[in-house]
């Protein structure tokens, strides 16, 4: 079970219709790879976020399948086309079944 999982996103507040906006996300998570051993030499079981998605007004922007080679505190930067005012929905899926969600609004003039 991962503690203190905090999603953070950065999205522009405003854009013009048809703009391509840059989005940055970071979620604090230990991303235990399943390769490390504890002090007694026992393998620490894998516990990572295995999927990340971003949707804008219900339309998919990016859907990422993640494996243990993704770093601790997974970071993603990507871009989206915005044609209208709306909301970005960000979702992270943890190996342990937890789902972390975050939203960000953007106003399109």
């Amino acid at each position: 079970m991962a503690d203190n999982v905090t999603p953070r996103v950065r999205v522009p507040r405003e854009a013009s219709a048809g703009d391509v906006v840059s989005i940055r996300t970071l979620i604090s998570h230990p991303m235990e790879s399943g390769q490390r051993r504890d002090g007694d030499g026992n393998v620490i079981p894998r516990s990572i976020i295995n999927r990340f998605t971003c949707d804008f007004n219900g339309e998919n922007v990016i859907d990422v399948t993640m494996e243990p080679s993704i770093s601790t505190n997974p970071y993603f930067q990507f871009s989206a086309v915005v044609n209208e005012t709306g909301t970005f929905n960000f979702t992270w899926y943890d190996d342990d079944g937890s789902v972390y969600e975050e939203t960000a609004d953007i106003t399109v003039a």
């Binding site: 390769q35 949707d55 339309e59 243990p68 770093s71 970071y75 990507f78």
Partner: protein, 140 residues
């Protein structure tokens, strides 16, 4: 650090043994399997995809990479020298602004990072870059 010849030779042998005995490094077969699972065995061209990774990464625990394949449906990233070569698969939806993404990855040691893009017409594009790592990731 002062070191006499005997100590130096001993360290060298130890280091060589450690390198040969690194546990769980991916075999080439694992990498090929991962590639075939994505491409279905199709040949991949090299144009139309960009993989940006540092030539030298000081810390293998967090190596910044960037992939860019204009028009691609999906891009898979593999670390050929990790115990599990899979890194991530980026699937781009209709609202994506560019078929590009940046992230940070773990590298267990010096190895090739491979990116393969699947295009809407069913063809594939491949890019590869060798990254030297000063401190390995994966907690090895």
């Amino acid at each position: 650090m002062e070191m006499n010849r005997r100590q130096f030779v001993g360290t060298g042998v130890g280091a060589a043994a450690a390198i040969t005995l690194l546990p769980g490094m991916a075999s080439a077969a694992l990498v090929d399997d991962a590639i075939n699972a994505f491409t279905g065995g199709a040949e991949a061209g090299s144009d139309g995809i960009t993989l940006i990774a540092p030539e030298i990464a000081e810390n293998g625990n967090t190596v910044p990479i960037e992939v860019d394949a204009p028009g691609a449906e999906a891009i898979i990233v593999l670390a050929a020298g990790n115990p599990n070569p899979g890194v991530a698969t980026f699937n781009f939806g209709p609202a994506s602004g560019a078929q590009a993404a940046s992230t940070r990855i773990r590298l267990a040691g010096e190895q090739d990072v491979i990116a393969i893009a699947r295009m809407p017409d069913g063809t594939f594009r491949r890019a590869q870059q060798e990254v030297k790592v000063t401190i390995g990731g994966c907690g090895g």
